[in-house]
Symmetry: C2
Subunit: 285 residues, 2 copies
Amino acid sequence: MTAPAHFGDRLSAAVAQRESQIVLGLDPDPAKLWPGAGAAAAPEAVLAHCRAVIDAVAPACVAVKPQLACFERLGPDGWRVLHAVCDHARDASLLVLADGKRGDVPVTGRVYGEALVGVLRADAFTVNPLLGRDALQPFVEAGRAAGAGPFVLVRTSNPGAADLMDLELATGEPLWERLAAMVAGAGAPGASGLSDVGAVTGATVPAHLDRMRELMPRTPFLLPGVGAQGGDVAALGPAFAPGRAGGLVTASRSIVNAHSEGGGAPGEAARREAERLRELAWSLA
Amino acid sequence: MTAPAHFGDRLSAAVAQRESQIVLGLDPDPAKLWPGAGAAAAPEAVLAHCRAVIDAVAPACVAVKPQLACFERLGPDGWRVLHAVCDHARDASLLVLADGKRGDVPVTGRVYGEALVGVLRADAFTVNPLLGRDALQPFVEAGRAAGAGPFVLVRTSNPGAADLMDLELATGEPLWERLAAMVAGAGAPGASGLSDVGAVTGATVPAHLDRMRELMPRTPFLLPGVGAQGGDVAALGPAFAPGRAGGLVTASRSIVNAHSEGGGAPGEAARREAERLRELAWSLA
């Protein structure tokens, strides 16, 4: 595959090629790994686990989303394992979406951009926009230079998200609408029609999705909260308005721990659940 | 020193013992290290540099603040070097304030808490509050269990901070005042009178400091922006109202690169600049 230089185009091509909008979340907990392994060798056990999960479910997915916290918890070996997991995902032809929700002053944002895109070679990465437009810009630029893309938090799926993101501004709209406008303004569409700056849009509040799509008509949405966090994939229709790549459906525990619900070998159960989600999401667009 | 279990008390004791409120920011750039070293061996060069800087300026400081982005940029060896730098700082009797501005949904916040406090053994760490109270809580709890403390972003020092943090809410106050109230509510004071949850309060807007102190009377303030970012240490008076440990003055480039301003050996120049800042801040309280 020749990789178009625009993130929205790359994402559209990858979703079409793999016939999947499913993003496999990797949140490895050393206490809950399969194939089971002792905590004494936690970093190696986590690496083996992540490789096994990727091998099992890659055919149903378009990307993996390693949760950086889970690798940092491994200590000095954490980032070595993270790099190795990302390499393994690329070998399986999956995009890598580094989930770190980074955000800092511009000079540091440039360093995060180097770390995530230049060194880790992530295709996409999550960003926290609290520090404003000048702080978001280095992430956008780092992505753009490499055909990678930031996914910016607009509304997250935890109950406490309402504390700040739903606050009503003096101008009448909730804060998350201001975040949405910032995201829409930061991105530029490619030939596919999809923007090169995405948004994290919590699927636990599907009522917001229509309005989000209105404010960000060309933005790829990263939809967390499906499965273990309580989201409902069938409620995600508006996300796919600009095309199937307009909505990426993330699931981690519901896939990785599928065997504890339905029984069977962990790999087989995970593959079945990922394929079930893939078919469901694909049928919505 | 017996370490009290309350972060505010630990911080007060450390500031009193070292007669310093200076936090040395470590933002190593492989292209600008002393003693100079090639990028081919960047991780080892960064480690040698950070150790040399700590050795030079530790006597004037109470803590180091490694910028996690700068270690993640080093690739798979990044967190190994970060752990080694933190070990070296502890050997020099400095507190470690891990500057990663983390923030995520509660289940992931607990993992970051483990990573930062349990594994990296940070005494303090910066947190992004955008995801709300339930997302802040795991950071507060992780700190409290270890006598460590979160410093929560309330108002940062970059120009774009005004985009969101200064937005006027329907209730009349700017968003940062809501963040300040969240921080004040999350903390609990110790015997020293200082709270165990801190705030990042950008020193480039000193006019806000009086109001911040009013909203967060017992909160330790982390004051970035001094030196290279344009802040003025003499304007920080209100920060010290609850005692000298109420205001931690961070400086990184202005200390580490002091030799490029005033000449001399890098270590000597850095030590002189750190000592100058230490005396100035100490004289304000």
